[in-house]
């Protein structure tokens, strides 16, 4: 049972990839998917406080359960538009 993970902006540069797969084992939460990814891409470590999660394109709490086939996104603080945020 695997989930697809998508990374954006600074997180994708730190990891060196925009997509990854995580083995869910007995089941993981969105926050645990991030922790699993930190083991593989150590540059992602220590950012827990600033990351939001999305599961299947909707914002989700870190404790949100992830099912096989779900798409989990790691969302750094957003900064769209042109002027200072």
């Amino acid at each position: 049972m695997k989930a697809k993970v998508r990374l954006f902006a600074r997180l994708s540069e730190l990891a060196g990839t925009r997509e990854a797969e995580v083995e869910l084992g007995e089941g993981l939460t969105a926050g645990e998917v991030y922790q699993a990814l930190c083991g593989r891409y150590t540059a992602l470590s220590g950012l827990k406080g600033s990351i939001r999660y999305a599961v299947n394109g909707e914002y989700a709490e870190p404790g949100h359960p992830v099912a096989g086939g779900d798409e989990v996104a790691l969302i750094p603080p957003v900064s769209g538009g042109a002027d200072a945020v």
Binding site: A54, E61, P62, P76, V78, G80, G81, A82
Partner: protein, 141 residues
């Protein structure tokens, strides 16, 4: 309603035409344009990244919130991705309403809300460096 993340140049007139209805006496339009300076640094260009499928969904959600709060007739939003030069348009928000007050207010609120929740990010590139600009972090307990 129209919500789009695109790498193509934005066309504000297209959004104006899209939201204008026969009952609309006002169309408010906001364009976010790349500026040549930030925090005293001379900006060369901006690079935008987005999670397009989610961004389009979240844009629809905030537009529906605005439609519930103000008597407006339609909303359209577009954000561009990729490398944008100084003077190019990164964001366009158009709102139509019977009267100007609601059009201005809803357009202003939608731009603010966009910058809080829509998954789009910008990297600023200046002479001698670059940085992903990050908005307010949402703290988890």
């Amino acid at each position: 309603m129209l919500f789009e993340i695109t790498s193509a140049a934005l066309d504000p007139q297209r959004l104006i035409d899209h939201v204008r209805k026969d009952e609309s006496g006002a169309v408010a339009l906001f364009s976010g344009v790349v500026r040549n300076e930030n925090l005293g640094r001379r900006v060369l260009y901006l690079e935008y990244d987005a999670y397009p499928e989610m961004a389009e969904r979240v844009m629809r959600e905030i537009a529906e919130e605005a439609m519930g709060r103000w008597p407006i007739t339609d909303v359209a939003m577009q954000h561009r991705t990729g490398r944008l030069k100084i003077g190019e348009t990164s964001l366009v928000v158009a709102v139509s309403a019977p009267h100007r007050k609601e059009a201005f207010e809803a357009c202003h609120a939608l731009v603010d809300r966009f910058k809080e929740v829509v998954p789009v990010w910008k990297k600023e590139v200046w002479e001698g460096g670059e940085e992903w600009i990050e908005g307010e972090a949402v703290r988890h307990e």
